[in-house]
């Protein structure tokens, strides 16, 4: 029992108690909700849809860069491709929007070339500040971090360029 000393407002502030409905009641409640949503949907603007899709991408990007897992498929090109798709743009039109060549865009999309700061700032501006340049930057950093940790060949190769290594171990 919820304490009788609490007001209904205090209860609502602290709890959402489970409500048990029979199967029939649940079906009726779900149908009622679906109809209500349907009538709202009919008046929903295209702009609202774009907003939801943009937020979805933003949250996916934020959670990926904050998480500890590295997934090679979730690279810069992947997120950029998602962004262009949700904008409903052809690659050519998007390249024009952000003032780069189609070839350059293709390199970014296929991870053949690392985007510079100018480009990620342009992405921030293009999304009307919804997806920040710093998050695009962190995505690139996450890829670099993975390479730095795991790429043994780079260490072997660069060792040849280093002399007079400090003779200390920590």
């Amino acid at each position: 029992m919820i304490s009788k000393k609490l007001t209904t407002k205090e209860i609502a502030d602290a709890y959402i108690p489970p409500v048990r409905l029979s199967k029939k009641e649940q079906q009726a409640a779900d149908l009622e909700l679906a109809r209500h949503r349907q009538s709202r949907r009919a008046s929903s603007a295209e702009k609202q849809q774009l907003k939801i899709k943009l937020l979805q991408l933003k949250f996916q990007l934020e959670d990926y860069i904050k998480g500890e897992e590295y997934n090679p498929d979730l690279n810069f090109g992947y997120f950029l491709k998602q962004y262009i798709q949700l904008s409903n743009k052809k690659q050519k039109d998007f390249a024009e929007d952000v003032d780069i060549s189609v070839l350059q865009l293709s390199h970014y999309l296929n991870n053949r070339r690392e985007p510079n700061n100018n480009f990620i700032v342009r992405l921030e501006i293009h999304s009307n500040n919804t997806i920040s340049a710093i998050n695009w930057f962190r995505l690139l950093e996450k890829e670099k971090e993975h390479v730095l940790i795991n790429d043994k060949t780079i260490r072997n190769k660069e060792r040849l360029h280093v002399t007079n290594t400090l003779q200390v171990t920590l």
Binding site: A12, A14, A34, I52
Partner: protein
């Protein structure tokens, strides 16, 4: 995402993570009011803690309804010391609801929705506090109302 410490109005930052099986040792009815373990198999249960801490200040159980692009909040509770006038922290329930809203958008990009079936006497409070829409037996958040909750609770 943060709570307000009622005594001094300071912000304290929080994280929300999935409840692990071992958490149920500390999730008692006395402190969290419901039999949470009974919902473990049918719901996704998440816990809110202060950032870097383990003590659970609030819990939410969610059911995913993919065919309707909807997450249903089955139950929610804040820990007993955070209920009523003498509560230590404010905003726990709101943060958990905002977390559900953010998850709805992460999972569904057409018409993501968060709904709940309220006790009749609590319905108007949820509608008033969270800007929910009234669909009769159930109330829900979608579109701008859903985004507003996320913006309100996630903006530091």
């Amino acid at each position: 995402m943060y709570l307000i410490e009622c005594a001094n109005q300071n912000k304290v930052f929080v994280s929300i993570r999935k409840v692990q099986t071992e958490d149920f040792k500390t999730i008692t009815i006395k402190r969290y009011f419901f039999k949470w373990k009974a919902y473990h198999n049918t719901c996704e249960i998440f816990k809110l803690t202060l950032l870097g801490k383990e003590d659970i200040l609030g819990l939410i159980a969610i059911i995913d309804r993919p065919s309707e692009e909807r997450l249903e909040i089955k139950l929610l509770a804040v820990s007993n010391e955070n209920v009523g006038q003498k509560k230590r922290y404010d905003r726990i329930a709101g943060c958990l609801i905002a977390f559900a809203c953010r998850n709805a958008i992460k999972r569904y990009n057409n018409f993501p929705c968060v709904s709940l079936t309220p006790k009749t006497e609590l319905k108007k409070h949820y509608i008033h506090k969270y800007g929910m829409f009234d669909a009769g037996r159930q109330i829900y958040l979608e579109e701008e109302a859903l985004i507003n909750i996320i913006n309100f609770y996630y903006n530091d």
